[in-house]
Symmetry: C2
Subunit: 233 residues, 2 copies
Amino acid sequence: MDGGGWRPVKRTRTFEDVLAQIERRIAEDGLTAGDRLPAERQLAEQLGVSRSSVREAMRVLESLGVVSSQVGRGPDAGAVLTSRPETALTDLLRLHLGMAGLKLREVIDTRHMIEQWAASHAASARAGTSALTAALSGMDGARTAEEFVEHDTAFHCAIADASGNRLIAAIMRSLRDSMRRYAVEAVERLGDTAILRAGHVRILRAIEAGDADAAARAVSEHLAHAYPSLFDH
Amino acid sequence: MDGGGWRPVKRTRTFEDVLAQIERRIAEDGLTAGDRLPAERQLAEQLGVSRSSVREAMRVLESLGVVSSQVGRGPDAGAVLTSRPETALTDLLRLHLGMAGLKLREVIDTRHMIEQWAASHAASARAGTSALTAALSGMDGARTAEEFVEHDTAFHCAIADASGNRLIAAIMRSLRDSMRRYAVEAVERLGDTAILRAGHVRILRAIEAGDADAAARAVSEHLAHAYPSLFDH
DNA sequence: ACCACAGTATGGTCAGACCATACCGAACCA
DNA sequence: TGGTTCGGTATGGTCTGACCATACTGTGGT
């Protein structure tokens, strides 16, 4: 019969329908961050489904960084549209890294790519140098590997922020956050952070000078020093 | 008293605790794709929570592409760990694009960055040329803009696949999928696809020749032709 | 050896209840 | 008039218990 025109009935789960309808409403009504969604009970009644299904859809939207739920009453209560792709990206990467679905090497290569791009663009725009110098002095005052990594993350994220592309900045921040554990290990294994500091200064100088190529090269060499085991060819 | 040691009690929701415990189990037990999680009812009993809370946690894990639920009975039923970051990324980008939380320009710049990187690496490895030629002939046979974009997506994703980095390939695929609508519009606006074909051929030739720089330049020029309005400085 | 069928474990869905939270507003007092 | 208190209420968070559809499992008959 090879199907004979038959199709399986009802393949989509209820909460998926709810999700699709909410997404449609967002697109059609032009909803943006800050706008409120109807209350769960109201939405359930309007869509003719149970509150559980609406809640499961809400959990998905929340996990993707699209809504944020507040209890209580008033203008700020209920499900409010937000735009937090970075939290969702962080969770996504952390979980897939933990499951060994992704290798550390792949994450670091991605970081390499993003940082070269961001440093080039930051240099072309000569942007973000104040945040970079602040992070640099923060690293100088760090007394533990955790503290160092904290400011190191701020430094590298500042480069991404300076590129002006929020998506790339969000990916960068998520990569760093999900890698935090491995970054601390890498710093402890290295012991001396002087060589890392030199790399940071070279990146900063290249951006200040507006030299995109030099900035990209500086990033590349910096990462090679930070993760030597991944760059032995 | 500055608080006097007081802190708000119970700020985390139940399903978040469930989520944390599942994640801990994944990390501690070294679970990977293919392994099964306990059944919802069983998990609820073991954790001392209701099944609803377990289900909400499951929805989050599913939306992040970490588990996949199958009904019925047997070895394949229940919640199975998976590794599908690309579906989660696609949903994430699509929703945030729809909400205007991200601008199309940012997505295309990201794509530009990834494709230059991937084309360089594919050229260095001289990899993926067979998939690329197949996609190329697919585009030649396309009769509608949708069909063309279909094979165009395959072409560009093949470049990312050839880089060997699954994270970057996943980001590439998600970017393309979430942009599909805009890509079709762009092709229709362009009318003639001959210039796009020429760009594809140049990219392919550069990869075949193992010329990383030429591949990166070809990608850059190809994107400039496809989205002229975004490249007018 | 095969097949039909009851049993059962699974996720999917629903209804209804109760709780904590936080705002709203009216009644109450100064 | 002005402020305060306190009950009402809308919100999300959680739980219970039920029922359904699905798909395997094992048993018993042929």
